[in-house]
């Protein structure tokens, strides 16, 4: 006979509902070439038996696109927040520890409720208002080089990894985190969006806004899309410094 079949060991922090306490459960699965964390979770779902040989409930997790563009499958893998679809088992140290991103309320097991990020996007007015009673025609043109740069910022998928990695986003603070701030930069860079830039800048000068950033720079290190979050934060700091003087000393131009 050949050597024993290769296996993969998972340790998963589970929780039945938001208010219940969590517990750890171990699973041992047969190894398959090129498996990722999602395919392992699917295997557990197919055969929900833990390492003690006891039948258990399947582990719950969230997923959608499976190609790192939707952000739904984000979780903490071996201590670091990232997407489970691009977490390849071959590149991970075993046992592989899976935890929910506790910066957000846990719904069940590895599923978290990221609503606060969507609420933050509303607070900072992260959209370009174009609705009117009549057709306003084409907006101003955007320089191509600027469009290419702004495209990088638009890759944000609101996955929540930057909030999970940030030491200042926690239950003791209202800080909205890097992702919504970066969207303010993106919307303010848009030629039509820039028509409301002062409203967004004033919004991020409010509670839980830009000033709560402590420059730990974990966000930019952790962002799966490589968005220059800390550059955006520093650039917003510059914009907001000017806005602050305008607000205090007065200015005869409101937007630019």
């Amino acid at each position: 006979m050949g050597e024993a079949a290769k296996t993969v060991i998972f340790e998963i922090e589970r929780q039945n509902s938001t208010d219940e306490s969590s517990y750890w459960e171990k699973f041992e699965l047969p190894y398959r070439a090129n498996m990722n964390v999602i395919s392992a979770l699917m295997e557990i779902r197919r055969n929900p038996v833990n390492m003690d040989g006891k039948k258990t409930t399947p582990v719950n997790w969230d997923m959608n696109c499976l190609e790192e563009v939707c952000g739904a499958c984000s979780m903490v893998i071996n201590g670091k927040a990232r997407q489970s679809c691009t977490a390849l088992v071959d590149q991970l140290e075993q046992p592989i520890r899976l935890q929910p991103m506790r910066t957000f309320p846990v719904v069940r097991d590895l599923i978290v409720d990221r609503s606060r990020m969507f609420d933050s996007l509303k607070k900072v007015k992260a959209w370009v208002p174009i609705d009117g009673t009549h057709d306003l025609g084409e907006g101003p043109r955007m320089p191509e080089r600027k469009r290419q740069w702004a495209y990088e910022l638009s890759k944000c998928m609101t996955c929540g990894v930057c909030l999970e990695a940030c030491p200042n986003v926690n239950d003791k603070s209202d800080f909205i985190g890097a992702a919504p701030l970066s969207q303010v930069r993106l919307m303010n860079a848009h030629p039509t969006g820039a028509m409301n830039r002062d409203e967004r800048l004033n919004a991020i000068m409010g509670e839980g806004g830009l000033a709560d950033c402590g420059n730990s720079q974990n966000c930019v290190e952790s962002c799966p899309k490589g968005i220059p979050l800390t550059t955006s934060i520093a650039a917003l700091n510059r914009d907001v410094s000017i806005q602050m003087f305008r607000n205090f000393f007065g200015s005869d131009h409101m937007v630019d």
Partner: protein, 203 residues
Amino acid sequence: MDNNREFLMRRLHSLLGVIPIGLFLTQHLIVNHFATQGVEAFNQAAHFMANLPFVIFLEIFVIYLPLMYHAFYGLYIAFTAKNNPGHYSYMRNILFVAQRYTGIFLVVFIAWHVFETRFQVAIGAAEADFNMMENILSNPFMFAFYVVGVLSATFHLANGLWSFFVTWGITVSEKAQRYSTYFTLLVFIVLSIIGIRALFAFV
């Protein structure tokens, strides 16, 4: 999000850390450095500083009030962070944690330092001169305490200066922030040498 009180308080905290506290610390360490030129030079410098016109107002508005605001609001900032240098052991995150630990330590160190020196002078129990510091630093435990205190202060100022440049939107690009790291590292080294040399001059 219309209430921007927190924003203004954070900006004030950042500003006061550099002006006047950072400037005061630099001046303080430079004046201390007179100790390396002997007892007479140090006493003359200390006497000059202690007898500046309106010294009590200078102390209140340049040192006590800004320092207390920076210290107490800083404690609030330090204790609202959930440090995670274990899993996210990037340089900036480690400096972020160090900034908070040195800040907390400095509140204790400076409180003790002020009590032991300025307060004793104020109640007439001592005179601010070379002897006073020589007595304090002759205790090896106190000497170590002062060395850690000076290094914490120079680190906290240098790293705080780096954050100040980001907070006010001066260093924006990654490159600017990297050069700013080199510059503030230099500030840390230079101020530390000045501070530590002065301490050794008393023993």
